[in-house]
Amino acid sequence: MSQDSAELVNIKANPDVMEQVIPPERLSGGDMLLRALQDEGVDYIFGYPGGQALHIYDAIFRQQRIEHILVRHEQAATHMADGYARATGRTGVVVVTSGPGVTNTITGIATAYMDSIPMVVISGQVPNNQIGTDAFQETDMVGVSRPIVKHSFLIKSASEIPLAVKKAFHIAGTGRPGPVVIDIPKDMTDPNILYDYHYPESVNLRTYNPSLKGHPKQIKKAVNLLLQAKKPVLYAGGGVVQGNGSELLVALAKKLNCPVTNTLMGLGSYPATDKQFLGMLGMHGNYEANMAMHNSDLVFAIGARFDDRVTNAVDKFCPHATIVHLDIDPTSISKIIRADVPIVGLVDLVLTSILSRIDDAFTKGVTRPDMAPWWAEIQSWRDAHGLDTDTRLTDKTLTNILPQQVILSLYRATEGKAYVSSDVGQHQMFAAQYYKFDEPRKWINSGGLGTMGFGLPAAMGVKMAYPDAVVACVTGEGSFMMNIQELSTCLQYGIAVKVVCLNNQALGMVKQWQDMQYGARHAASTYANSLPDLVKVAETFGHIGIRVEALSELDTAMDEVFSEKNRNRLVILDVQVDRDEHVYPMAIKGGSMQDMILSRGEST
C-alpha cells in the first residue's frame, strides 16, 4: 500500500478526524533499517561492528526493541542466527561491517544456504561513490556471496531500504528458505538525511510465487502408488522440518502402516521412538533403513533431495522402486534420481491433500496389500544388525568410554527432550544415530555443508530463542576449537548451553577414513600432545568444566552438567573417549545402499 492509500483508509474509517492523520515519520536510512526490522518482528540481531556499519550500530543503540548480541567472530553470528532460525522457524538476522566482516560470514551463509535456512545478512559497504575503487575494507559482498544466497540486494538509494527489508524477509522465509544479503553503502544510512518512513504491509514479486499446492494429477498418481505398494518407504528430509509437515508425516505413516526413514536433516520430523521408524539412512545410516530402501518397491521422498551421502552409487540406487518425489524446489526433483512422479509443492499442503485422498479411497473400500510380510522382513534386518545389537554399549566391564555411550548418557540425562546442536565429525554421526529425537527442530546440525565450528554458536542461537529450554552442543575437540571464542559471548549474555565434547584427541572422522582407505596413515589428523585442557578453558572463560575419563563416572558427570544447580551456567563436559572407535555402518564406496561395512572387518 502506498502512503497515500494508507491515509485514505484512515480517513474512510473516521471521516471527521482528517487533521489527525499522522504525517509519515521522518527517519534516516539507519533508523529506517532498524524500524523495518522491528516492524518485521525481529527480536535479536547477531553481529559485530566496524567502520561502514557504524551508522547502523548507532541506530541499534538508539532503540530498545531489538537486542543486539555481540559475538566474537562474524562466522559465529551467522551460525547463531542459523541456530535461532532452525529452532524457531523464524528468520535469523545478522549485521556485520564491510570487508573482513562480510568475508567472515561466508561460511555461515553457505551453511544456511545448503540447509535452506531463512537468514537475512545485513552488511555495511563503503559509500556508494567509493564502490569499485578498492577503498579501505571494500569487498564486493554481492559478488562474493552470489553462489550461496537465495537472493541479494545492493542498496542504491536509502529510500529503498524498507522495501528491500520487506522483500528480503519474504524471500528468505518462504518457498525453499535460504539466506538473503542486503549490502548497504555507508552513505545510505547517514543520520543527517531523513526520509518518509513507511513499511509495506505486503510485497508482491511478479517473478516469485512459491506457494504451491502440487499438481492434482500427480498427487492422484502418488496416492494410487502408495495404496498399491507392497514395500513402501517414506524417506523424509529437512523439508518436512522446514515445511512444518511432521504431524502430517506421522498421520500418513500411521494411515498406511508403513516404515519411515529420515535423512540427517530430517531427524525429528518423525518420532524416533516410534516402532515404524527405521532410523537415519545413508552413509552412516541404520542397516534396516538402508536395506529397506534398497528392497522397497516404492520410495516416497518428502522434502529430501537424494544427497550423495544418501544414495551411494546412483546407478545402483533402489533398483526395484518407483520414485515419488515431493519438494518445494523443482530443481531438486530429478536432479540426482529421476522421479517417476514429481510433485512440486509445499509439504503441508500436498500431504494434506494426499491424506484426504487416501481417506476417500478407504471409504470407497479400496484395499491394500498386507504390510505384515514387509514388516517381518524389516524386523529380520533389525534383529541381525540394528544399532542396539552392539553389545559393547551395555558392557559395564569396559573401562574405555565409547562415544556412543556418551550420547546414550546425554539422552538419558535430558530425557530425550533437549535441543541438541552438533558439530561435524564422528561425534555428529553418533549423536544422529543414538539420540532419539521425537520432535522436529530439536536436532540442529550442519548437514549440507558439514561446517565444523557450527555447534557452539548454533546452540547459543537456540538458547537465545528459548531461554528456558535445555540446549546441548555435542562436539569434538577439533570442531569446538573452531569457534571456541564464543565462550566469551556466552558469559556476556548468560547463555547457559551445555557443551558435551567427545574428545578423541583427533580429527576422528578424517582419521577413520585414513584408517580405512589410506593404510592408517594419519596425515594431519592428530594433535594429542598439543590440546588445551578444556576444564581450564571453561574456567578461563568464566564457566564450569568437568572432565570424565572412566565409564563409571560418565552418568554422574552428565547428571551434574544438567543439574538444577548448574541450570544457569555454561558447563563443558570433556569426555575422553576411545580414540580408535569408528562410525558404523558405513556405506561401501561405489556400491548400492545395501552395501555397508557393519563393524570392523564385517561387511554385508
Partner: protein, 164 residues
C-alpha cells in the same frame, strides 16, 4: 546431446545478468553464445543463450534459471520451430585477383561489403553459425584479419510468443 536455444526474460536490474552468468559457471553448464539487450518494455531484458546438453541437463538449466528471483520467463525455443539470427563482421585482406574473388563469394553467401580500403574489405553477414563457418571456409587463413560475431538472437516461429 543436442544444441539448445533458451530465451529468458529478465528484470532489468543491476546484477541480474551476473546471476545468470554465475549460475552457468557454478553449475558447470557451458554457454556457447549469449546475447542480451533491453526489450520494448524498459523494465525487462531479453537473453538468448545457446548451449549443448542432454534433456536432463537442459531441464535442470531451465529450472535453475526459473529459480532466480529476477527471471520472469524461460522458454526453450528448440522445443518448437524457431528463427535464429546473429551477425558476423569480418575484415579480410583483398588485393589483386582476390578482390574480385572475395566479392563473388560475398554475393553467393548473401553478405554485404560495408567498408573498403585499397587493401581490405569489411564484410557483414546475417545468419547462424553454420553460414558463418561456411563463408570462413572459403578463405585462406592468411586473408582473414579480424572476425567478430554477435551472440544469437532467437524467436519462435508462428504466433507463439514469450511475454509477461
Amino acid at each position: 546431446m543436442k544444441r539448445r536455444m533458451i530465451a529468458v526474460l529478465l528484470e532489468n536490474e543491476a546484477g541480474a545478468l551476473s546471476r545468470i552468468v554465475g549460475l552457468f559457471a557454478q553449475r558447470n553448464y557451458n554457454i556457447e553464445t549469449l546475447s542480451v539487450a533491453p526489450t520494448e518494455d524498459e523494465e525487462l531484458s531479453r537473453l538468448t543463450i545457446t548451449l549443448t546438453g542432454d534433456d536432463a541437463k537442459i531441464e535442470q538449466v531451465t529450472k535453475h534459471l526459473n529459480r532466480l528471483i529476477e527471471v520472469v520467463k524461460v522458454s526453450d525455443l528448440t522445443d518448437g520451430a524457431h528463427l535464429e539470427r546473429g551477425i558476423m563482421l569480418i575484415k579480410v585482406r583483398a588485393q589483386g585477383a582476390m578482390r574480385a574473388e572475395i566479392k563473388r563469394s560475398v554475393e553467393i553467401f548473401k553478405g554485404r561489403i560495408i567498408d573498403v580500403t585499397p587493401r581490405m574489405y569489411t564484410i557483414e553477414f546475417m545468419g547462424n553459425a553454420d553460414k558463418f563457418a561456411a563463408f570462413i571456409a572459403t578463405l585462406e587463413k592468411k586473408h582473414i584479419v579480424e572476425v567478430v560475431r554477435s551472440g544469437l538472437a532467437g524467436i519462435s516461429r508462428g504466433e507463439k510468443a514469450l511475454g509477461l
